[in-house]
């Protein structure tokens, strides 16, 4: 099926590519279906979480491997909500003009189950920051 997007034009997706967020993304409760759009320029470090219901609704999520010592504890809640299966998790990123102002939300990762095609945003019990500076001290290139 075709999904219309504001930034990537018309994207062809299979039903299995769609993740249903029954638990919703905070602040965006009217939207439940999303796809992950990969851009070769970014090598899987930054991916787009695109709504299939609203072309203009898209989030940038960052690969958690970019953050040292980030060990979110979500298995119990995730399996209860999304079922058993292979899990992936990503962190919501806020892009700014200045790279040093860019932050990621480590407290509320986006969790997806690759087998049940369900997703959620879970607010962790652990004390992680909501706005963690990903590029602290890095000079603009």
């Amino acid at each position: 099926m075709k999904v219309l997007t504001r930034d990537f034009g018309e994207v062809e997706v299979e039903k299995e590519d769609i993740f249903t967020f029954e638990e919703k993304i905070y602040g965006f409760e009217e939207y439940s279906d999303f796809i992950m759009i990969y851009d070769d320029d970014f090598n899987g470090e930054y991916v787009w979480l695109q709504s299939t219901e609203e072309p203009g609704l898209c989030f940038i999520v960052a690969n958690p491997s970019l953050i040292p010592d980030y060990k979110p504890d979500f298995k119990k809640e995730a399996v209860a909500a999304l079922g058993k299966g292979t899990y992936e998790y990503w962190v919501m990123m806020v892009v700014k003009d200045n790279i040093q102002d860019c932050t990621v939300n480590l407290k509320s990762p986006v969790i997806i189950n690759l087998d049940t095609h369900k997703g959620m945003q879970l607010i962790l019990e652990q004390d992680y920051p909501i706005r963690y500076s990903l590029f602290k001290g890095r000079k603009e290139s």
Partner: protein, 84 residues
């Protein structure tokens, strides 16, 4: 910020109409009870902050912005420089 000490069973009264009671304290977890009129919105703070951060994320989520921030050339710029 007003800082007070309360024991389990103690209460705070806010504006005479909102009551916050410490129900029990168990190690590093504290159970609070809140009595407020229906129109008073009560949210875990991290929920509100997550909402705001999500909104900021969606507002800044264009490939062009990301390219620009990382100091990379956008697809359009690459096309242009390839044409030269």
């Amino acid at each position: 910020m007003l800082i007070l000490s309360r024991k389990p069973g103690d209460s705070l009264l806010i504006n005479d109409i909102i009551e916050v009671k410490v129900i029990e304290a168990n190690g590093d977890k504290i159970k609070l009870g809140i009595d407020a009129p229906r129109e008073v919105k009560i949210l875990r703070k991290e929920l509100k902050l997550t909402e705001e951060s999500n909104k900021d994320s969606s507002a800044s989520a264009t490939p062009a912005k990301l390219h620009s921030m990382l100091g990379m050339k956008s697809a359009e710029e690459k096309d242009e420089s390839n044409k030269i």
